[in-house]
Symmetry: C2
């Protein structure tokens, strides 16, 4: 592997001169400098990242930690992050799984963005205490080295509930996420708040898991006890889709006997029939904002926690209780600002 030493030898100068030349310092004559650059190019010199990182105590790499690599949410989110990172001279790497956590304390990366509920908050807190910079997208944490960029779950869940209630629903099933999920807890809290405010609305909570299977199981439960028009608010789209799938095998029609609304407005939701009503937000913006915040706290700029706003997307999966004998027409998607 060719190092600055080789270049120095070839150019007949010292390694420091080479380093200065390569970094565009004005401590070297243009003449020597261009000679050195030429030799570097000729030898295909590439600096060693480990050496640079070791000395400069920064890698110019940011890491994002995800629960897994699948998931429809991630595409735009990551593009947004990457765009900001690259514009600011950082590279972005995507990691998943406990093994990769070491990247942060070992200083392979200059900071981390967390969207992985399996990454323990205690662990994050330790890292923050040791000076590592972190942005969390999936929990609340207060620490000078941690910044939050959270979805406005409360607004989203409220929008969804109000939409169902406006359509005339009096009985609403709510399918939750897994126990530890911050998003689930937040959304559920808002659901309860809205429901408690409306005296004539009954709501039933069903424990889910944010996965398709959870929605399917919820469907089974609902079909068994069905006794009249009802709506289901699945706290994420994946469960909503599982639920719709399963309902398709039953006598209950989505957007007819049962209305369904989700949360996240993932790509797939546009393709289910009828179109799934959901809560939308800009995943790209979420990602770019997270990256911006991380870069700021790395630079030592103090920043406040941020929030990502949400909108309601209507769909044929919600059309009011028992449309009696009228034909159910597919609506166009309309985004309603909150």
């Amino acid at each position: 592997m060719v190092s600055i030493k080789d270049i120095a030898k070839q150019a007949g100068v010292s390694i420091s001169t080479v380093s200065y030349a390569l970094n565009g310092s004005n401590k070297v004559t243009d003449e020597t400098s261009s000679k050195i650059l030429a030799i570097a190019k000729e030898l295909n010199y590439v600096p060693n990242a480990a050496a640079r990182t070791l000395k400069k105590r920064e890698s110019k790499i940011l890491g994002v930690f995800l629960t897994d690599f699948s998931g429809d949410v991630y595409g735009d989110l990551l593009s947004g992050m990457k765009a900001v990172c690259n514009a600011q001279g950082y590279d972005l790497i995507v990691c998943s799984g406990k093994q990769s956590h070491r990247m942060l304390p070992e200083r392979m990366i200059d900071g981390a963005i967390i969207l992985d509920h399996t990454f323990a908050s205690e662990e994050l807190m330790q890292y923050a205490d040791r000076g590592h910079k972190i942005v969390v997208l999936d929990r609340e944490m207060d620490h000078p080295n941690i910044n939050q960029v959270l979805l406005d779950n409360k607004a989203g869940a409220t929008l969804a509930m109000e939409h169902l209630i406006e359509q005339g629903h009096k009985k609403i099933y709510v399918v939750t996420g897994p126990e530890g999920s911050f998003d689930s807890v937040q959304r559920l809290k808002a659901v309860r708040q809205v429901a408690e405010r409306e005296a004539d609305v009954e709501w039933i909570e069903i424990t889910g898991d944010f996965e398709k299977s959870g929605g399917e199981q919820a469907a089974d439960q609902i079909v068994q006890v069905y006794d009249g028009p009802a709506a289901v608010f699945c706290l994420n789209d994946e469960m909503a889709i599982g639920l719709c799938d399963r309902l398709a095998d039953s006598a209950l029609g989505v957007g007819q006997e049962i209305d369904v609304i989700g949360f996240d407005n993932i790509e797939l939701s546009k393709y289910v029939q009828p179109r799934l009503a959901s809560i939308d937000y800009s995943k790209r913006k979420w990602g770019s904002l997270a990256a911006e915040q991380l870069i700021k706290i790395i630079a030592g700029e103090p920043v406040d926690h941020e929030r990502i706003y949400v909108t309601l997307v209507e769909g044929g999966s919600v059309s009011g209780p028992i449309p009696s004998d009228s034909v159910i027409s597919m609506r166009n998607d309309r985004a309603v600002s909150y």
Copy 2:
């Protein structure tokens, strides 16, 4: 940041003793060793990755390079890679975009898996020449430091074409990928081979781009010239879905006037109505095999190029030309081994 030096000071030993103790060498007394370990834990010592990488000349990190972070193909593919990497003591990071290429020559990663047609082969060849280890999933390259793990595109395209022909189709549109795409070229070659063999089959090539919009444009073209039963083989599912979407706005029904088959069998394909026929393969296996091969060539073991086998998945989107007045029944998905 606490380093071995701090531990050495606290323990009253030399840094080399600390290093040996931390690495479980038997060159240190159990007594001193456990004492050192205790102090290390107490001080929250974490080794510095840059220093270790610099000295050992390996990072134990593999990188996978993708064109973008979206794409339904990637979930299982990456899980497969990660599983193998972790089992073998490696970490996996996911990168995208030209900026991140530097990770390889700068030796931040020990090897790379490429699934990104925008990553120039010449560039890869240079890296290979300089000793970097690479596995390519999207092109053919011959070099001792490069291994191929490719889809069996020929088999897949042949299966798809034969399926359409078996159903009685005589007129087949083929929507291709973008110019430079290896997969597109390979699949198209197989298409031609099959079509040329069948004297009474007419085939028409339409240039696409492997994106939804390409399928939509192809649909427009086909609708304009439609003059009787025909089938469309989209060289990937994304285009097939775009095409189906657009056809839904026309008078031509998918699985009725027009049969459609795709390639990749992405998650979404299960949700379009009628279910999209496609060519399936194990993305997880593809990923795990790629990782295995990369780790092998890093270890200096010589390996042969590998191939991922494919199967046909039938769907309601293909049901034979003009089903006349009979009702088209949704078929179950059946996987047919090739």
